[in-house]
Amino acid sequence: MSNQQTTAVQQQSTKPSVKALFERADVGKRFAEVLGKRAPQFVTSILQLAASDKVLANADPYTVYNAAMTAASLDLPVNKNLGFAWIIGYKNNSKGTTEAQFQLGYKGYIQLAQRTGQYAKINCVEVYGNQFKGWNALTEELDADFTIDGTGPVVGYCAYFRLLNGYEKTVYWSTEKVRVHANRFSKTFRFNDSTWKSDFDAMAKKTVLKNTLSTWGILSVELQNALKVDQAVIKNEEEVDYPDYQDANVLTKEEERMMQMIDAAETLEELQALAPNVMESMGERYRNKLDKLSAETPVVVIEEPKPKKASAVKPEISFEYFKMKVDSCKTYQEYQALLSEAKDQEKQDYLGKKMNEFVESEMDKEALDSNNSIGLFANE
């Protein structure tokens, strides 16, 4: 991959719009060098994408350029409908900037693997409840009937490849495993507007295939580069950021709400009313605003409220409400989260009872599942 990017395009002190940057002669020339006659159509598709996506249109144009150049050098069309690769605008709250992120779809990975000329077969599919019979993690044998149409819920995702030399690999991840993985590694997983919410299957297939290829596949230089730049904001050839990863400073909806409220506060009174709910992550922003408003209101003596974690400042709630919260829990983690709110004996007893019941019912379910799977294998 020729990762020319910003080193080859002169950055200006004032940032142009995405459209203005892509209309520059030197930019057009760079794309023409990589794509030849297909360059104008490719550039048009990027401009079309930016025109239809407000976040992307406002993104740092050089990150859009770098992402587009990466797609061009991988020779993959940038089109969500095709699903090979796309460019997504991404608000980086820690820096207060918007950047473009390059993303590969699972079809993009398949395409790049095929180009190595080493793969006889490669695929990644959903496994439905009516198809799945069992998975042996030791021998890596998936017992599933793919001759029937999948119906009902998707229980897992299977990636498979066979090399020309005969080496083959099958990897199966249950839907739950994908979910746990995404929850652990993708900060945007829980957001309503994340791709995980709008297209879980495509994201899951990509995750399983990417993991399979990077661990066991033959990787061409092109494929290695693709793995490196996938889901990244590309600054230049050496510098690549992964804003979706867990350690990135992506805000939850509550944090975002608090941030907007701190910014919008016009008086000390308004700001201080927020103090009991200010999260740790918003502490610095709160203090800065407090300093600013204090300087504008010199007469008032201000006692700086200590920002606390949202969970630590919950007022004591009635037993009736607590009971309903407990009854709404669906996972063990949700029960655990209520421990801090169980401040009296009555609440503790109720929560303890419900947690025990939950654990017992989960154990029953597990026992039932294992009996079922024994039954399935026994039938064969």
Partner: protein, 305 residues
């Protein structure tokens, strides 16, 4: 489910069951008939019995008395509106067969996706940091999940809020400038008041940006409509820009994108709501479960013999 005796109605559906039937109810008809009989009887008492008009009045009184008997025999019959009865049929089908009538719509989807954004707009307007309530509340009649509230906990809330995220600028402004509050939302909020005891409810219509996934879906529809053209096809390009503009609102001040209606708790309304829930359960038992109840009774009587 063998009967509807403990069936809880969702607050969001109260508007449907609270619609009144067209025309007079049986109790009103009984009162009318009794009043008319009294009136005619009084007229007959002072009139010459041989007159034809007196004879006619006497015949009419007899007729009315017969009607009255029939009406009195039916006085406990539940008189529900057509809207309500249709809704109860749908509800029964959904419950019995586990199928939903309205599965997806872009309006519902937007409402779910932008719930947090609407809450942020509400927070900025009310200058109160709101957190989403995720607890479903129930009492003997209804169940519901108010969006948020002000108070130590939801049972000690001074104000309960519900947000409605409009699909676009046009639907938002229709809600904004409509003087009468939507009856479905009125009853939904009375339901929340019943569940929480809150004396005041606020309904907030919010206009926030449509999520990218829904904008893309609209663009894809356009793409198919135009015969799947190349992306640089000018009408498609212009159409996409128009869709983007129609569904995002950064250029409109936040204060113009929210409208809050206040609704006071109404004890009479809540009482009527309880009564109607009981009537609906009775109707459901009579209409849908009667057959099953009869069969059960038959089984038990066979068991006895």
């Amino acid at each position: 489910m063998n009967n509807a005796n403990e069936f809880l109605f969702r607050c969001s559906s109260l508007g449907k069951i609270m619609t009144n039937p067209q025309g007079k109810g049986i109790r009103e008809k009984i009162l009318d008939a009794e009043a008319l009989i009294d009136k005619l009887s009084a007229e007959v008492a002072v009139a010459k019995p041989t007159l034809k008009t007196t004879q006619n009045k006497l015949a009419k009184i007899e007729l009315l008395k017969s009607d009255l008997e029939n009406l009195k025999a039916r006085k406990d019959e539940v008189n529900l509106s057509l809207t309500c009865r249709n809704y109860l049929i749908d509800l029964f089908v959904e419950t019995k067969y586990g199928r939903k009538k309205d599965l997806f719509s872009k309006y519902l989807e937007k409402g779910l996706l932008v719930e947090d954004d609407s809450l942020t707009l509400l927070s900025l307007t009310e200058k109160v940091f709101f957190e989403k309530n995720n607890v479903r509340l129930t009492n003997d009649y209804v169940s519901g999940e108010p969006d948020t509230y002000i108070g130590q906990d939801i049972f000690r809330a001074s104000v309960v809020y519900d947000t409605k995220s409009s699909w676009d600028l046009f639907t938002f402004n229709h809600s904004k400038y409509d003087d009468d509050i939507n009856q479905d939302y009125y009853w939904q909020l009375q339901g929340y008041s019943d569940l929480t005891g809150a004396p005041l409810m606020k309904l907030a219509y919010c206009l926030v940006d449509t999520p990218e996934s829904l904008i893309n879906a609209e663009m894809q529809k356009l793409w198919h409509k135009l015969g799947q053209p190349q992306e640089d096809f000018q009408p498609y390009y212009d159409g996409c820009r128009a869709i983007q503009k129609a569904l995002t609102y950064d250029d409109i001040p936040k204060s113009e994108r929210i409208k809050i209606f206040k609704i006071d708790r109404d004890e009479d309304a809540i009482e009527r709501m309880h009564q109607r829930v009981l009537e609906c359960r009775h109707y459901m038992n009579q209409t849908f479960f009667n057959h099953e109840i009869k069969r059960e009774n038959q089984k038990s009587s066979e068991g006895v013999s």
